[in-house]
């Protein structure tokens, strides 16, 4: 068994109470002048510290854009995002990011990738190394430390990506369709694995997906976005007990929650389809 306390930062208290996200009337437009394109329409939402929230919506609706605004890659055209009261200005290690594409530095070993964040934070080589080992152990990949990323399977690379983001003890973990490129079986294992890590680590998770099953299985809350331009049209609380396992997929509560989300998504997709044809 892994020691939960091991994953708490000795210096920073990232425990309960940190990682609250406020998205305040955020509007995001791309382009200038006549080419302006509205990607995210007026969005107002609060994510509590320690919550696991999924953002669900059809592709192209602005999920990544909204997440990138929380991460600090994209500046809102209007409104602002705050994390624990501080306005997001630029990317930072307090908001860990996991991408859909493979984003490990290919010229660094798995171990060096995970140690990168602690090193940037000013930890010594040995400290960074021991943090890296701790988190590689957390995702079950300690013995692959001296491999290069491309020598690992897609699922393993994503686990390294999660370990790397967590190694900075972020208060928020942002995930943009992190399992989208994996095969179905691997994806299920990764979802359970992620919940297990989250249970130990207790950080706020914002997880973007277009997969209804994934959202319902993982989340405390599912935020459903409209078709482009994206806007949160529904905030669904998922009251399934935790810890969750994949067997729950047949329980009436799960089926009901899933059907509820699915109906909204279907209506949205139809709207988007009709908009395209007019």
């Amino acid at each position: 068994m892994l020691d939960v306390l091991k994953f708490k930062s000795p210096t920073k208290d990232t425990g309960k109470g940190k990682g609250r996200i406020d998205v305040n009337d955020v509007v995001i437009r791309f382009g200038k002048g006549a080419d302006t394109h509205l990607a995210v329409d007026k969005t107002e939402v609060t994510i509590e510290a320690g919550e696991f929230v999924c953002i669900l919506g059809p592709s192209g609706c602005g999920k990544s854009t909204l997440l990138n605004a929380i991460a600090g890659y994209v500046k809102p055209s209007e409104g602002a995002v705050t994390v624990d009261g501080d306005t997001v200005q630029k990317p930072g290690p307090d908001r860990g990011m996991v991408f859909q594409q493979y984003s490990l530095l290919p010229w660094k070993t798995v171990y060096e990738n995970v140690a990168f964040g602690p090193k940037m934070a000013g930890h010594s080589r040995t400290e960074s190394g021991s943090i890296a080992n701790t988190f590689l152990e957390l995702v079950g990949l300690k013995k692959f430390g001296d491999r290069y990323p491309a020598e690992l399977s897609g699922g393993m690379q994503q686990r390294v990506g999660i370990a790397r983001a967590l190694a900075n003890y972020p208060s928020v973990l942002l995930m943009d369709e992190p399992f989208g490129a994996l095969d179905a079986q691997t994806r299920l294992m990764m979802q359970e694995s992620l919940l297990e890590i989250w249970r130990k680590f207790g950080t706020t998770v914002v997880f973007v997906t277009h997969d209804v099953d994934e959202a319902v299985f993982l989340a405390d809350r599912v935020l459903i976005m409209s078709a482009a331009p994206g806007r949160i049209i529904e905030d669904v609380r998922i009251d399934l007990p935790r810890p969750r396992s994949t067997d729950m997929a047949s329980t009436p509560e799960y089926v009901k929650a899933r059907q509820f989300c699915l109906d909204i998504i279907k209506a949205e997709s139809r709207k988007a389809f009709e908009n395209q044809n007019t």
Binding site: P91, G92, M97, S103, P106, M120
Partner: protein, 295 residues
């Protein structure tokens, strides 16, 4: 929707579960040694290369032996045997080795300067839009000017013959290095930059830890191309020289209408150029080890 029911997997120890196997090899490949390089040599490939060169020399022998004169005239072209004898004669003289040594020294100096400046300028252009807009026009205009065209100006501008030759050689190597470095920097995947930023990397750290490593393969390719180009610029430059250099040797043989020596000079240049390009590839290889292991 058929995805309604998830397969009831036995709740695994999730965090430790490693459902998918890593890609082989299970153990990291050993560091390459000379012996492993020799073993790894593709003998079949080498056989084809040898056969190709053999056929080339044979055809060369035949067309000169029969004095072929059909549109292309081989009557005055020296045979391989004659050239080979001339070559054997030359390698026993110290002056021939001086020619080679002097040329190699010029290449080494020019190429080193071109490497340092070229990578520096390329990185600067990759990093700053202003630098790019400022420098690019010069590159566009100066790059197409052939090395020979520089001879008069180089002689006027530089204090010594040696420095004008080195200047001309340097110019040849510079542009491929600059452009490849710039290209490499611009090719850096955005997602890697973002990942590093989210891990707390400063602008400088992003540059040294992400952008430069990402550009290395392209820089290495630029160095190899630059080395090749510097050899044919050197030839132009050595026309200036009144004394030494393999280019001078060839030019001198041309003035004296010594056909064997012209071909000896040409072939020596060809082999030296190939050899030094291969040396550049070999020297840049350790920087790209991660690429090799990932293939």
């Amino acid at each position: 929707m058929s995805t309604a029911v998830k397969p009831a997997a036995p709740a695994p120890k999730a965090a430790k579960a490693a459902p998918e196997a890593p890609r082989p090899p299970m153990t990291p490949p050993p560091r390459p040694t000379l012996a492993s390089h020799l073993r790894a040599l593709d003998w079949g490939h080498l056989g084809i290369v040898a056969a190709s060169l053999g056929i080339g020399v044979l055809l060369w022998h035949i067309v000169t032996a029969i004095n072929l004169n059909f549109f292309i005239n081989f009557e005055n072209v020296p045979s391989p045997a004659k050239v080979f004898m001339a070559f054997i004669g030359h390698i026993q003289t110290s002056i021939f080795w001086t020619h080679i040594g002097v040329s190699m020294r010029r290449i080494l100096i020019s190429f080193s300067i071109a490497t340092a400046l070229g990578i520096g300028i390329g990185l600067m252009m990759g990093r700053s839009k202003i630098a790019r807009a400022f420098i690019m026009p010069y590159i566009e205009v100066v790059r197409p000017i052939p090395a020979v065209a520089w001879i008069p100006l180089a002689i006027l501008m530089w204090p010594t013959e040696e420095s004008s030759i080195i200047y001309i050689t340097f110019l040849g190597a510079l542009f491929p290095i600059v452009l490849n470095t710039l290209h490499g920097v611009q090719q850096t995947p955005e997602v890697l930059v973002r990942a590093a930023q989210s891990l707390g990397a400063s602008r400088t750290a992003v540059f040294t830890q992400v952008v430069i490593p990402a550009a290395l393969p392209s820089i290495a390719a630029g160095l190899a191309i630059g080395m090749g180009v510097s050899w044919f610029s050197l030839l132009a430059g050595e026309i200036i020289s009144g004394q030494y250099g393999i280019g001078y040797f060839t030019w001198d043989a041309y003035s004296l209408i010594n056909y064997q020596d012209i071909v000896v000079g040409m072939l020596v240049i060809g082999f030296l150029g190939t050899g030094s390009t291969a040396a550049v590839r070999l020297m840049t290889r350790p920087m790209l080890a991660w690429q090799k292991r990932t293939r």
